[in-house]
Amino acid sequence: MNEEFFVVLNTVASMIVIICTVLSFQLLVGISRELKGLKTMDLMWKNFIIMINLFILLGITRAVGSIGTIIFEGLQPVFEALLSVTLILFFVFAIQLSLSIEEITE
Protein backbone atom coordinates (compact mmCIF):
# COMPACT_ATOMS: atom_id res chain seq x y z
CA MET A 1 0.00 0.00 0.00
CA ASN A 2 1.25 3.46 -0.80
CA GLU A 3 1.97 6.29 1.64
CA GLU A 4 -0.83 8.50 0.26
CA PHE A 5 -3.44 5.99 1.43
CA PHE A 6 -2.14 6.20 5.03
CA VAL A 7 -2.01 10.01 4.88
CA VAL A 8 -5.67 10.16 3.77
CA LEU A 9 -6.74 7.52 6.31
CA ASN A 10 -4.97 9.31 9.18
CA THR A 11 -6.31 12.72 8.17
CA VAL A 12 -9.93 11.51 7.89
CA ALA A 13 -9.66 9.61 11.20
CA SER A 14 -8.13 12.65 12.91
CA MET A 15 -10.93 14.90 11.61
CA ILE A 16 -13.60 12.51 12.96
CA VAL A 17 -11.76 12.23 16.31
CA ILE A 18 -11.52 16.04 16.62
CA ILE A 19 -15.27 16.43 15.87
CA CYS A 20 -16.18 13.69 18.40
CA THR A 21 -13.93 15.15 21.10
CA VAL A 22 -15.34 18.68 20.66
CA LEU A 23 -18.91 17.31 20.88
CA SER A 24 -17.94 15.17 23.91
CA PHE A 25 -16.50 18.24 25.60
CA GLN A 26 -19.77 20.11 25.05
CA LEU A 27 -21.68 17.18 26.59
CA LEU A 28 -19.25 17.16 29.52
CA VAL A 29 -19.98 20.85 30.10
CA GLY A 30 -23.69 19.92 30.12
CA ILE A 31 -23.06 17.14 32.66
CA SER A 32 -21.14 19.46 34.98
CA ARG A 33 -24.02 21.98 34.76
CA GLU A 34 -26.49 19.23 35.73
CA LEU A 35 -24.23 18.28 38.64
CA LYS A 36 -24.41 21.74 40.21
CA GLY A 37 -27.62 20.70 41.96
CA LEU A 38 -26.15 17.47 43.30
CA LYS A 39 -24.32 17.46 46.63
CA THR A 40 -23.72 13.73 46.99
CA MET A 41 -21.11 11.69 45.09
CA ASP A 42 -19.04 14.82 44.57
CA LEU A 43 -15.64 13.08 44.50
CA MET A 44 -16.75 10.47 41.96
CA TRP A 45 -18.14 13.09 39.56
CA LYS A 46 -15.08 15.30 40.07
CA ASN A 47 -12.80 12.38 39.09
CA PHE A 48 -15.14 11.46 36.23
CA ILE A 49 -14.99 14.95 34.73
CA ILE A 50 -11.16 15.16 35.09
CA MET A 51 -10.74 11.68 33.57
CA ILE A 52 -13.02 12.38 30.58
CA ASN A 53 -11.26 15.74 30.06
CA LEU A 54 -7.90 13.94 29.96
CA PHE A 55 -9.34 11.37 27.56
CA ILE A 56 -10.56 14.17 25.28
CA LEU A 57 -7.14 15.87 25.52
CA LEU A 58 -5.53 12.55 24.57
CA GLY A 59 -7.73 12.26 21.47
CA ILE A 60 -7.07 15.84 20.40
CA THR A 61 -3.29 15.49 20.96
CA ARG A 62 -3.19 12.30 18.90
CA ALA A 63 -5.34 13.75 16.12
CA VAL A 64 -3.50 17.09 15.92
CA GLY A 65 -0.20 15.19 16.21
CA SER A 66 -0.91 12.93 13.26
CA ILE A 67 -2.00 15.88 11.09
CA GLY A 68 0.92 18.02 12.33
CA THR A 69 3.43 15.27 11.56
CA ILE A 70 2.22 15.13 7.95
CA ILE A 71 2.86 18.88 7.58
CA PHE A 72 6.14 19.04 9.55
CA GLU A 73 7.90 15.85 10.66
CA GLY A 74 9.98 17.65 13.32
CA LEU A 75 6.87 18.01 15.49
CA GLN A 76 6.56 14.24 16.06
CA PRO A 77 8.75 14.00 19.24
CA VAL A 78 6.84 16.92 20.82
CA PHE A 79 3.46 15.25 20.26
CA GLU A 80 4.82 11.87 21.40
CA ALA A 81 6.05 13.45 24.65
CA LEU A 82 2.68 15.20 25.16
CA LEU A 83 0.85 11.92 24.51
CA SER A 84 3.04 10.08 27.05
CA VAL A 85 2.46 12.73 29.76
CA THR A 86 -1.31 12.71 29.13
CA LEU A 87 -1.38 8.88 29.23
CA ILE A 88 0.42 8.83 32.60
CA LEU A 89 -2.04 11.43 34.01
CA PHE A 90 -4.93 9.42 32.52
CA PHE A 91 -3.66 6.31 34.37
CA VAL A 92 -3.65 8.19 37.71
CA PHE A 93 -7.18 9.55 37.34
CA ALA A 94 -8.56 6.30 35.87
CA ILE A 95 -7.40 4.46 39.01
CA GLN A 96 -8.86 7.19 41.25
CA LEU A 97 -12.19 7.09 39.40
CA SER A 98 -12.32 3.28 39.59
CA LEU A 99 -11.73 3.43 43.35
CA SER A 100 -14.47 6.03 43.89
CA ILE A 101 -16.89 4.02 41.67
CA GLU A 102 -16.10 0.90 43.74
CA GLU A 103 -16.94 2.82 46.94
CA ILE A 104 -20.34 3.82 45.53
CA THR A 105 -21.07 0.32 44.19
CA GLU A 106 -20.33 -1.26 47.59
Binding site: A13, S24, G30, E34, E80, S84, I95, L97, I101, T105
Partner: protein, 158 residues
Amino acid sequence: MKKLAFLAGIPLLMIENVNALENINQIDMSGTMVQLIAYLLGICGAAYLAAGLWLRSEKGSQSWKYLSVSMILFVFWNIIGTFSILLDVLAVRKSTSGIIISDETLNTYIIIVKILDPVIAVIVFVILLFGLKKIIDAMRTKPWTVFSKDEEEEKSNE
Protein backbone atom coordinates in the same frame (compact mmCIF):
# COMPACT_ATOMS: atom_id res chain seq x y z
CA MET B 1 39.44 11.28 47.09
CA LYS B 2 40.69 10.04 43.73
CA LYS B 3 38.62 6.82 44.16
CA LEU B 4 35.53 8.87 44.93
CA ALA B 5 36.10 11.02 41.88
CA PHE B 6 36.33 7.87 39.75
CA LEU B 7 33.02 6.56 41.19
CA ALA B 8 31.31 9.85 40.43
CA GLY B 9 32.44 9.55 36.83
CA ILE B 10 30.83 6.12 36.21
CA PRO B 11 27.30 7.41 35.55
CA LEU B 12 28.70 9.95 33.11
CA LEU B 13 30.59 7.19 31.28
CA MET B 14 27.39 5.12 31.11
CA ILE B 15 25.42 8.03 29.69
CA GLU B 16 28.14 8.56 27.07
CA ASN B 17 27.99 4.87 26.12
CA VAL B 18 24.19 4.96 25.85
CA ASN B 19 24.41 8.08 23.68
CA ALA B 20 26.97 6.37 21.46
CA LEU B 21 24.70 3.32 21.08
CA GLU B 22 21.72 5.55 20.30
CA ASN B 23 23.67 7.29 17.55
CA ILE B 24 24.70 3.97 16.04
CA ASN B 25 21.18 2.55 15.98
CA GLN B 26 19.54 5.90 15.02
CA ILE B 27 16.78 5.58 17.61
CA ASP B 28 16.14 7.53 20.83
CA MET B 29 15.92 4.66 23.32
CA SER B 30 15.14 6.76 26.43
CA GLY B 31 12.22 8.47 24.68
CA THR B 32 11.00 5.11 23.36
CA MET B 33 11.13 3.59 26.86
CA VAL B 34 9.07 6.47 28.32
CA GLN B 35 6.52 6.03 25.54
CA LEU B 36 6.36 2.28 26.11
CA ILE B 37 5.86 2.70 29.87
CA ALA B 38 3.15 5.34 29.25
CA TYR B 39 1.29 2.95 26.91
CA LEU B 40 1.54 0.08 29.43
CA LEU B 41 0.22 2.34 32.21
CA GLY B 42 -2.61 3.41 29.88
CA ILE B 43 -3.50 -0.27 29.32
CA CYS B 44 -3.60 -0.97 33.09
CA GLY B 45 -5.62 2.16 33.94
CA ALA B 46 -8.14 1.73 31.12
CA ALA B 47 -8.66 -2.01 31.85
CA TYR B 48 -9.27 -1.33 35.57
CA LEU B 49 -11.66 1.51 34.76
CA ALA B 50 -13.52 -0.60 32.15
CA ALA B 51 -14.10 -3.29 34.79
CA GLY B 52 -15.37 -0.70 37.31
CA LEU B 53 -17.71 0.93 34.78
CA TRP B 54 -19.06 -2.48 33.67
CA LEU B 55 -19.91 -3.34 37.29
CA ARG B 56 -21.57 0.08 37.68
CA SER B 57 -23.69 -0.55 34.56
CA GLU B 58 -24.95 -3.86 35.96
CA LYS B 59 -26.18 -2.15 39.12
CA GLY B 60 -27.29 1.14 37.56
CA SER B 61 -27.89 2.79 34.20
CA GLN B 62 -26.93 0.89 31.02
CA SER B 63 -25.29 4.07 29.70
CA TRP B 64 -22.16 3.25 31.74
CA LYS B 65 -21.73 0.23 29.47
CA TYR B 66 -20.95 2.50 26.50
CA LEU B 67 -18.10 4.10 28.43
CA SER B 68 -16.89 0.66 29.50
CA VAL B 69 -16.80 -0.55 25.86
CA SER B 70 -14.98 2.66 24.90
CA MET B 71 -12.35 1.94 27.59
CA ILE B 72 -11.96 -1.71 26.41
CA LEU B 73 -11.32 -0.45 22.87
CA PHE B 74 -8.90 2.12 24.32
CA VAL B 75 -6.97 -0.82 25.82
CA PHE B 76 -6.72 -2.34 22.31
CA TRP B 77 -5.62 1.04 20.95
CA ASN B 78 -2.82 1.17 23.53
CA ILE B 79 -1.80 -2.43 22.73
CA ILE B 80 -1.55 -1.46 19.05
CA GLY B 81 0.51 1.62 20.04
CA THR B 82 2.86 -0.62 22.02
CA PHE B 83 3.22 -3.01 19.06
CA SER B 84 3.89 -0.06 16.77
CA ILE B 85 6.79 1.09 18.99
CA LEU B 86 8.20 -2.45 19.20
CA LEU B 87 7.98 -2.87 15.41
CA ASP B 88 9.74 0.47 14.86
CA VAL B 89 12.56 -0.59 17.18
CA LEU B 90 12.73 -4.02 15.50
CA ALA B 91 12.88 -2.45 12.03
CA VAL B 92 15.86 -0.29 13.04
CA ARG B 93 17.72 -2.91 15.11
CA LYS B 94 16.89 -6.00 13.07
CA SER B 95 20.48 -6.70 12.10
CA THR B 96 21.89 -6.34 15.65
CA SER B 97 19.04 -7.89 17.72
CA GLY B 98 19.47 -11.43 16.37
CA ILE B 99 15.71 -11.85 15.74
CA ILE B 100 15.10 -13.61 12.44
CA ILE B 101 12.19 -12.01 10.60
CA SER B 102 11.78 -11.34 6.90
CA ASP B 103 11.25 -7.82 5.55
CA GLU B 104 7.91 -8.83 4.00
CA THR B 105 6.51 -10.10 7.31
CA LEU B 106 7.72 -7.01 9.15
CA ASN B 107 6.15 -4.73 6.52
CA THR B 108 2.85 -6.66 6.73
CA TYR B 109 2.76 -6.19 10.52
CA ILE B 110 3.55 -2.48 10.16
CA ILE B 111 0.75 -2.04 7.57
CA ILE B 112 -1.79 -3.86 9.82
CA VAL B 113 -0.83 -1.65 12.78
CA LYS B 114 -0.97 1.52 10.64
CA ILE B 115 -4.50 0.65 9.45
CA LEU B 116 -5.88 -0.50 12.82
CA ASP B 117 -4.55 2.50 14.78
CA PRO B 118 -6.75 5.25 13.21
CA VAL B 119 -9.77 2.92 12.81
CA ILE B 120 -9.83 1.99 16.53
CA ALA B 121 -9.22 5.65 17.53
CA VAL B 122 -12.37 6.69 15.62
CA ILE B 123 -14.50 3.89 17.15
CA VAL B 124 -13.27 4.74 20.69
CA PHE B 125 -14.28 8.40 20.44
CA VAL B 126 -17.60 7.76 18.65
CA ILE B 127 -18.64 5.31 21.42
CA LEU B 128 -17.47 7.79 24.09
CA LEU B 129 -19.66 10.46 22.50
CA PHE B 130 -22.72 8.16 22.51
CA GLY B 131 -22.01 7.11 26.11
CA LEU B 132 -21.83 10.69 27.33
CA LYS B 133 -25.02 11.54 25.40
CA LYS B 134 -26.83 8.62 27.06
CA ILE B 135 -25.62 9.69 30.53
CA ILE B 136 -26.71 13.32 30.08
CA ASP B 137 -30.09 12.19 28.69
CA ALA B 138 -30.59 9.94 31.74
CA MET B 139 -29.56 12.80 34.06
CA ARG B 140 -32.08 15.17 32.46
CA THR B 141 -35.06 12.81 32.17
CA LYS B 142 -34.65 10.22 34.98
CA PRO B 143 -31.78 11.27 37.26
CA TRP B 144 -32.48 8.42 39.72
CA THR B 145 -31.68 5.83 36.99
CA VAL B 146 -28.03 6.96 36.69
CA PHE B 147 -26.97 5.04 39.80
CA SER B 148 -29.81 2.56 40.32
CA LYS B 149 -31.87 0.39 37.99
CA ASP B 150 -35.22 1.70 36.79
CA GLU B 151 -38.16 -0.19 38.37
CA GLU B 152 -39.91 -0.56 34.98
CA GLU B 153 -36.70 -1.91 33.46
CA GLU B 154 -36.33 -4.42 36.31
CA LYS B 155 -39.94 -5.59 35.85
CA SER B 156 -39.48 -6.08 32.11
CA ASN B 157 -36.33 -8.11 32.79
CA GLU B 158 -38.23 -10.33 35.21
